[in-house]
Amino acid sequence: MRPVRHGLCQVADKKGSGEVRVALVGCPNVGKTSLFNALTGSKQYVANWPGVTVEKKEGVFLHKGFRISVIDLPGTYALDYNSLDEKITRDYILSGEPDLIVLVGDSVNPEQSLYLLLEIVEMEKKVILALTAYDEAKKMGIKIDKYELQKHLGVPVVLVSSITGEGLEELKDLIVDYSARKGVLHKVHLDYGEAMEKRIREVLNNLTDLPIGAPPRYFAMKYLSGDTQFYQEALKSGLPELSEEERIAFKISLSKKKRELIENVIKEAYQSSEEKVLSLSEAIDHVLTHKFLSFPLFFAFMYLVFKFTFETAQVFSDLLDLAFTNLGNLLVERLGENAISSFMADGLISGVGSVLTFVPNIFFLFLAMGFLEESGYLPRAAFVMDRIMEKFKLSGRSFMSLLLGFGCNVSSVMSTRVIDDPKERLVTILISPFMSCSARLPVYLLILRIFFPHASAALLFSLYTLSILITLLSSSFINWLFYRGRSSPLIIELPRYRFPTFRNLYLYTWNRGKHFLKKAGTIILLASIAIWFLTYFPGNGNVEESFSASIGKALTWIFKPFDYSWKITLSLFYGAVAKEVIVSSITMLYNFDEVELETARSVLGLEMDPVKAFTFLVFVMAYIPCIATVATIYSETNSLKWTLFSVLYSFGIAYSLSLLVYKIGGLVVRS
């Protein structure tokens, strides 16, 4: 074991300044995002990849006078162009934009990570191997000789732990040093044996002009193994067609050779204690996916999530609520009753404030979801629930996306990108708006507290159950309508359990929750101002003579069967912008504060009875997705037709379902 020196240290000592672009590549669940968080801290921002709405996470850190920007690429097992994530990752690596690639691998089970590494080595890119979760490996008694890995793989290797921080400085040094170096550490040439090498040479000899964007040898191998992208390109440039058997056989042989090499490398570089003990992860798994315990536990967890979100967070919500109400009252006191004080108090503070009071709920919900996702429980839940999902032509994978919908439909629509099967992905996109997102919660809570002060929890639960039922049945229906095919397979990895770190949870919650704050500051602020204007003028505060009244009255025919007043109709109309707006428009139109439940009860009670109120909630639960979701559906499906379908379908479902509830409720209660 002769240590191989990088021979780069002199560069690091020089005081330099410059920019380095680093791309993080790795398999799903290896702790890529943890490393990203550990490197960049909170200096990260999320945008979209051009043309698609796959999240592009970027972060920056400074090291030795260099400004290093890090891009967290989507997690992939291979770079075969099979899924959107694989496409994005491969295109970005081949684009030449990153100066350096950091392959984030798993210290404990490195095979797949090394496979991915070899793919990138064959793309002739500069890459560093960062084996993460090194603390776990050490705990398991695994010894890793990084110089041995370095020798065989031809890339610098660093062992890191995002949790203890071990190796992070070394990685940062290495990023700066290695990016400044010309060429790679040493070139590794993978020999695939005479027969295959001959085929590759033949192809290379037949290449008339060099392929764009990929090294020739890599291109030739991808052509021979029938790669989705390069095979077509090769045909266009005049290479002959290959039979499918030939392509598959070549692909498997390539993979086999790589795996053999990896096996040997691991044999050389890895030492582990032989005795196999039941690991903690396996023990937890035994319980959580147990034949009889798994379902009760799943529902218990869901219940805890809800309790945490709605009860624990309520204390903070109430405080905020109090603050906003007092602020509004104070303003009116100081300024007197006029257009300006009304604008400030009823328009801005009441409108935005009524939504902001739900921010604690939303942040707590994301915190809980973050815990489930980061700990590794979510894929287990998908595994346990898959059989049920399959009945509705979905899979455990779409289950994970749908579950996120309880937080926000936008995030659930976006998360469908992990679903490989385009049909299943589309169906999941179309049904996910039925998952009752946290924005609908304020409406439920407001109405339930007014009309059902003693049964709000049970009715809230029934609304959520209803939302899940409609989501699932819609999947069956849409599949029946358009596809009638088989459901897509469930191939997911169950990662080791990890206790989520504070930093990861905080970033998870903040990165998602801040959208709501942004929404409150933009869409909802604008909507509140617009609604205030429409409601204040031209009657100077007299709602009955306002523009809103005219709009509302013009729309009441839509809800004729429900007998909704124009105010309720109008709140639903405004609520199409964002569901939270329903709350602010109701409080504005009826002119009450959220805390004044008695006033609210007396005003709303004139127009609504409990049945009507609950019907209203059923409608709110199901009717058209908010503007942000519609926009996301459009950008994800890239189809006006499906976007329109989603809007019309959900409206139709909401309408017929609430009518049903109204009629049945009427029969039961009023008789």
Binding site: Y77, E111, I252, H290, F383, D386, E493
Partner: protein, 147 residues
């Protein structure tokens, strides 16, 4: 035998894969190729999907897909249940607990060291056919006898 027939705890080697192109591509990318050694770790509470381990990683797969993967046992010793998929001669190595069960096999004449023959999926002991349930066949460990 097919991967979906394999019971938890048994290591098998992948022989052939016959799956739709996209599924095969994905599995090959994850390292499931002919020659790979996998172990079925667990079956979901509702009977489907299964989890198999490959190079220390746990991956889920529905039985529908596992039907397209032809495998053979790696270890000499395997449950009798799996041995029934392959014609041949087997020697009983060990039998697991269960008072009732042990009484039953004793009555049938199955003891450790006894030779069993599998032919066309039927089990024979000294030339006479024997019927065993799946649960029972899982409790008997056998070793293949060459010849």
């Amino acid at each position: 035998m097919k991967l979906f027939q394999v019971t938890p705890g048994v290591r098998v080697k992948v022989l052939r894969m016959d799956l739709p192109g996209d599924v095969q591509n994905k599995l090959v990318g994850m390292g499931l190729i002919p020659g790979a050694i996998v172990e079925v770790v667990k079956i979901a509470p509702l009977g489907d999907p299964i989890v198999f381990s490959l190079n220390g990683r746990n991956i889920t797969l529905r039985k529908k897909e596992a039907e397209g993967i032809e495998v053979e046992p790696v270890d000499e010793v395997m449950p009798l249940y799996l041995a029934m998929f392959e014609d041949g001669e087997y020697e009983v190595v060990e039998m697991f607990e269960g008072k009732r069960f042990l009484e039953k096999v004793k009555k049938l004449g199955i003891f450790s060291g006894e030779r069993l023959t599998v032919k066309n999926g039927t089990l024979y002991l000294k030339g006479r056919p024997i019927l065993l349930g799946k649960g029972e066949a899982l409790k008997i460990l056998v070793r293949g006898v060459k010849g």
